[in-house]
């Protein structure tokens, strides 16, 4: 929930591990302690969605979570994220949007040795959309107050052996029955592609069909519908840019249109009665569903420029549950 800086500092003083999201100036006023953070002024709270530059959104991790370690990881040490993950626990990460490490993690994540053997959950930090050209997203190491725009901040969190951390997602979309699209390289932009096994220009395909760019391309990864959201059609380079990489070899189809984006999102959240230890939601869901109002939400958190559920996702709500193991 949203806290004033004074109240957030009081929580930090208690020593419990925290995740904090907020405007850069607000995060910079927090005392040192057991927390990590990232920049965004957009939040989803129990009282609705909002933009708030003065308060910070604090996720107080449950009492049986202990922060083993907090630190930055650079682009040449991505393997450390799964390699140094706790035996019983999870890694909570925040990545600055638009940075080289954002691109590198997005492309390499699924190939990091052991990535699926310990939950890695988190989000991509952003800025106010009106300030994209003026400010850069940052992530914070609360232990020493350091901030960076080109590394990932990681909290390696331990839980008792009786607890199972489990990542879940809420994705509104499903694949349509449109053309099957495949791409030769794992990349954030596409020019060449195969459309139903015929080689084609994806730029030509997207422009000639006037694709609705609000509807992501969806890859079916062993039954999980994984979105890749359109960023823009780039006339200059005759390519199409995305907010996450298209994975080489995966068969994509564009999503089925939603009759009521907002209603579909609220219905899916309501139908998913989880009590997350951490959750976040995509800024495209926030914008397209018009969540900047008083609509009460049961799953809250920062509004993000990308969601991490092992790899980078788009237009998805991501959450982490801590489940008691069966005796």
């Amino acid at each position: 929930m949203l806290y004033t800086i004074d109240d957030a500092n009081a929580l930090i003083a208690q020593g419990r591990p925290l995740h904090v999201a907020g405007d850069e100036a607000a995060l910079a006023r927090l005392r040192h302690g057991n927390w990590i953070g990232g920049t965004t002024p957009y939040f989803l709270t129990a009282d609705g969605g909002c933009i708030d530059r003065k308060r910070v959104f604090v996720t107080l991790l449950p009492p049986d979570v202990s922060a083993l370690d907090i630190g930055f990881v650079g682009p040449d040490r991505l393997n450390d994220i799964p390699a140094a993950a706790p035996e019983h626990g999870f890694s909570l990460i925040v990545i600055p949007a638009g940075s080289d490490i954002h691109a590198k993690y997005a492309v390499d994540a699924y190939d990091l040795p052991g990535i699926f053997e310990s939950p890695t959950v988190g989000w991509v930090a952003g800025v106010h959309l009106d300030e994209l050209s003026d400010r850069t997203p940052k992530v914070f190491n609360g232990r020493n107050g350091a901030r960076t725009e080109n590394q990932i901040v990681v909290m390696r969190a331990q839980v008792p052996a009786s607890v199972t951390p489990r990542i879940g997602i809420i994705n509104l979309f499903r694949q349509g029955e449109s053309d099957c699209l495949r791409f030769p390289q794992t990349a954030f932009s596409a020019d060449e592609c195969w459309v139903n096994d015929t080689k084609a220009s994806f730029f030509e395909y997207a422009t000639s069909r006037r694709l609705d760019l609000r509807l992501p391309l969806i890859g079916n990864l062993s039954g999980e519908m994984i979105n890749v959201s359109f960023q823009a059609i780039d006339e200059a380079s005759r390519s199409v840019r995305f907010y996450a990489p298209l994975l080489a070899g995966v068969e994509y189809r564009q999503a089925v249109p939603l009759e009521n984006y907002r209603g579909a999102l609220l219905e899916r959240i309501t139908a998913n009665p989880v009590t997350p230890a951490f959750s976040c939601n995509c800024i495209l869901n926030y914008l397209y569903a018009g969540l900047d109002d008083q609509q009460s939400l049961s799953i809250t958190g920062p509004v993000t420029f990308g969601e991490i559920a092992y790899g980078l996702l788009n237009q998805t709500l991501v959450y982490l549950e801590l489940l008691q193991r069966r005796p």
């Binding site: 699924y110 053997e117 199972t164 489990r166 062993s222």
Partner: protein, 73 residues
């Protein structure tokens, strides 16, 4: 303690080669299987490595996937 089939069981090869399909209840299991399948699709010679990776994953999460694996055999 939940048991899963040994790596030599034909189930694993069928899963990573896509000859049987299944959506697990565990998000991570689907992502790990999809990664193993992509590995095999890109280079069939890596099937043993894909089986090893996915078996190791399922060993760690046996409590959450064992019943589904049993039903698939």
């Amino acid at each position: 303690m939940q048991q899963i089939p040994p790596p030599s069981d034909a189930l694993w090869t069928k899963l990573v080669s896509g000859s049987i399909t299944h959506k697990f209840g565990l998000f991570a299991a689907n992502m790990a299987l999809a990664h193993a399948m992509r590995m095999v699709a890109k280079d069939p010679a890596r099937k043993p490595a894909a089986v090893e990776d996915f078996h190791r994953f399922c060993s760690k999460y046996a409590e959450q996937v064992a019943d589904e694996l049993k039903a698939l055999r």
